[in-house]
Each structure stands twice: as structure tokens, then as C-alpha cells.
Amino acid sequence: MLNFLYAWGAPKTFYHYSKVLSKGFGIVSILALLFGWVWGLCYSPSDYQQGDSVRIMYIHVPAAFLSLSIYAFMASCALVTLVWRIKIAGLLLKSAALVGLVMTLLALVTGSLWGKPTWGAWWVWDARLTGELILLFIYAGLLALDNTLGENPASDKIVAIICWIGLLDLPIIHYSVQWWNTLHQGSSLLVMAKPKIHASMLYPLLCSLLGMLCFAGWAILSLTQVALLKREYRQQWVKTLEFK
């Protein structure tokens, strides 16, 4: 069992295992997204206050959830890179930064599109929105740093260190709706209690969430595979690869 886990740290076995895993993620994500979005956008009930504009929730909430959880994933990759010196974790970190940036951008844009009909404003400077904007800048800064450091072998460690320091923003965003009196609504999906939204909206939301998670998994693994090939292009196993 342990050997199986260690194999994930070696470039060649990681490449082949992750091919299988990313294919699985891809299939699940397409099915879950199709199912969740068609259900949510067409067949779920509209809100009594917001009308049909509530349907953007099925895109906004998964994207926002992912922007935070991808950063948490990056932090754990950073830990693995710094403590156990596993290079693959460094590659995963950088791929995740790109996917996380896109998710944060999506969350901000869909949020602002949702905010216009419901709050009357494209943007307000409340705690959660500001925190998410800061997260966007942190992602952008990490990517810029990675770009500048380029092929330097120490770039993995440095991006990992900076990723950990930016982790402070995460609890601020997550708890912002509890700590401050914000315009953004509070949490409807809680780990330790019953969800606050009805089942007819909950299930399509969970489905879209699963779909987005698997999409992120597929995207991160695919980007990592490309980065791995770029880094290991001189190895024998890369030269003998067949691309179907």
C-alpha cells in the first residue's frame, strides 16, 4: 500500500497513474456538470424573492467553493514540497494556482452579475467580496512569481513558501460572513448542521459542486502532466511515450 503511495512521487509512475485518474475525473465532471446544471438551470424552482436570477448560484457557489479549496490544496502541496521535498507536489502547486485563479475570477464575475439584479450594485466593498479579490491578487502574484523564477530549480520551494504565507486570507474569507455584518449572505451549507436550503435546490447545487471539483481535478492533473513532460523531456520514459 505504501509503495503505491510512494509511486505517486516518482515522475514516471505519477504520469501514468494520473492519466487514469484524470480520465476518471473528466468523465465524472462532464456527467455531474451536465446533470447538475441542466437540473439547476431548467428544472429547479426559482426563488421567491430573487426570481430566476438565483440560478446563477449553481455556477457561482461551486466556483467560489473551489477558489478556496484549491488554495487549501495548494497549501498542502506546499507543505509536501517543503517538508518532504517531493518535486511533483511543486508542479501540482503551480498548476493548481492557474486553475484557482480562473475559479476565483469566475466567482467574482458571476457574483457581480448576480449582485446587479439582487443588490442593485455590480460591486460592494463588503468583507467577503474584498477577501475574494485579495485571493485573486494572491493567485496572480504567485503565478507572476512562478513566471519570473522560470526554470530555476528553487522556484518550487519559493512559491511554496509564499503560498503558505497567503494562507492567512483563507479563514478571513470563510468566516467573513460570521465576523462582520456583510451584504453577502451567510453560509447555507454547513458541515455540522442541516443545510439551510431546500432539497430541490440543494441536490443540483451539490451535483454542480461535485462536477466542478472533478473538473478542477482533471484540469490540475492535465496541467501537471504537461509540466512534468516539459521538465523531464530528456528522460527515456518520455522519449518512448506514445500519444494516442
Binding site: L135, A144, L145, L149, A154, I162, I165, G166
Partner: protein, 231 residues
């Protein structure tokens, strides 16, 4: 001068850092002049309205303070790396964290002193009351450790002097934002007559946390820099 056999190495390092700044005042003086000028130009650049000036004062002062500390921190480690002092430090197995900590302490104290000396001028420019001016001083004191620690961290990337300023500031700004927001909110709260102790306490807490963690992170980056022979 310090007796090499009796004074501890870290005391000698403190004296050394202070001497370096005393003999090479340029970076400190220039960054403080930048602080003063940047703050002063806002009342000049914006159409004259005392109400607007008072509203923007906290934000302007804090952003200028951040930029001033960053600009002087850009060349923190450059000289020591070029002269080989850092490598000697590592060879003697001295903790690099202490080196970073001493540097931050000396630069932070000197910056703080000079900024506090300039604060009456800022109070005059923006027409602050005595209480608001006192809050400005308290917020600068509480937030300076965090500012200097974070600027020390991001300047570790550019330690080989290769024009990395833009990336440095791109990373610095999102991470230092809580400090800037708390600092300016404390002054804004003072302007509205609200209690400021909460903001200052939070600012002090952030400073303490950053002082604990960031020198260690900076030392790691510097070590990577030295092992690589450049970034």
C-alpha cells in the same frame, strides 16, 4: 568599537547594522523623503476640499508608509550577499533567522523614528486633531513590525539585484493588505469618534505573528538563494 571576545555575536551584528545605516544613509533618507513627498502631493493633486482630505488621509498615509518601507527594503540583503557576509554567516552555523530579525529590527526602528518625526507635518497637512494624530502614531508603531517583516520577505527574492521590483510588490501588496486596512481603519475610526483600541490590538497581533513567522521564511528563501548561487 565592540570587543570581539566579550560582546556576543548578535550584539556586534546589531552594532554593525546600525553602523552600516549611519554610514550609508541614502536608502533610509530617500525612502523617508519619498514618504513625505508622496503624502504631501495628495493635497496638491486633489481639488482642494478639506472634507475629502480628511477622509482619504488614513489610506494615503498608510499606502505611502508601505511603499516607503518597501522601496528601502528592496536592497536589504544585496550588499551582504555581494560581499560574502551571508555565506560566512552560514559557514559559522549562525542562525540566519537571527540575521534577518536583527536587520528588520534596526531598519524598522529607524524608519519608525523618522516617520514619527514627520507625523506632525502630516497632521498639519491633513488638519488632524490631536487625538487623530495620536492614533496615527499608535497605528504606525503597531503596524511597523508587520510592514518591515513582509518587505524583508519579498526583498529576499531580488537579493541578487536583478530588477525584480515589480514581482516583489505584486506579492507584497495582497499579503500586507490586512495591515494597511487595519492601520487606516484605526485612524478613520478615530476621526469618527469610535473606539480605536480594537483595531490597534488586532494590528499588534498581526505584527507579532508576522515577526514570529516571517524571519524564518525569509531565512529559508535566502538560504535557497545562496545555495543556488542566484535566483
Amino acid at each position: 568599537m565592540a570587543n570581539v571576545t566579550t560582546t556576543p555575536w548578535w550584539v556586534r551584528q546589531i552594532q554593525c547594522e546600525y553602523l552600516i545605516i549611519k554610514r550609508q544613509k541614502q536608502s533610509l533618507v530617500q525612502s523617508l523623503l519619498f514618504f513625505l513627498m508622496f503624502v504631501a502631493f495628495f493635497p496638491l493633486a486633489i481639488p482642494y476640499d478639506p472634507a475629502i482630505l480628511r477622509t482619504i488621509c488614513p489610506g494615503v498615509v498608510w499606502m505611502s508608509a508601505t511603499l516607503a518601507v518597501f522601496l528601502s527594503a528592496e536592497r536589504f540583503y544585496q550588499q551582504d550577499i555581494e560581499h560574502g557576509c551571508l555565506e560566512q554567516w552560514l559557514v559559522q552555523k549562525r542562525p540566519l533567522t537571527v540575521y534577518v530579525g536583527i536587520k528588520l529590527m534596526i531598519h524598522g526602528l529607524l524608519h519608525l523614528t523618522a516617520m514619527l518625526l514627520m507625523s506632525p507635518l502630516i497632521g498639519l497637512m491633513f488638519q488632524l486633531s490631536i487625538w487623530e494624530w495620536q492614533t496615527l502614531i499608535a497605528s504606525l508603531i503597531s503596524g511597523m513590525p508587520a510592514l518591515v517583516a513582509m518587505c524583508g520577505l519579498v526583498s529576499a527574492f531580488g537579493s541578487y539585484g536583478q530588477g525584480r521590483s515589480l514581482v516583489m510588490i505584486l506579492i507584497l501588496l495582497p499579503l500586507i493588505l490586512p495591515v494597511i486596512m487595519l492601520g487606516s481603519s484605526s485612524i478613520a475610526a478615530a476621526m469618527q469618534g469610535l473606539p480605536v483600541a480594537g483595531f490597534l490590538a488586532f494590528l499588534l497581533a498581526l505584527s507579532l505573528v508576522m515577526l514570529l513567522i516571517l524571519p524564518y521564511a525569509t531565512a529559508s528563501i535566502l538560504k535557497i538563494c545562496l545555495q543556488q548561487g542566484g535566483l
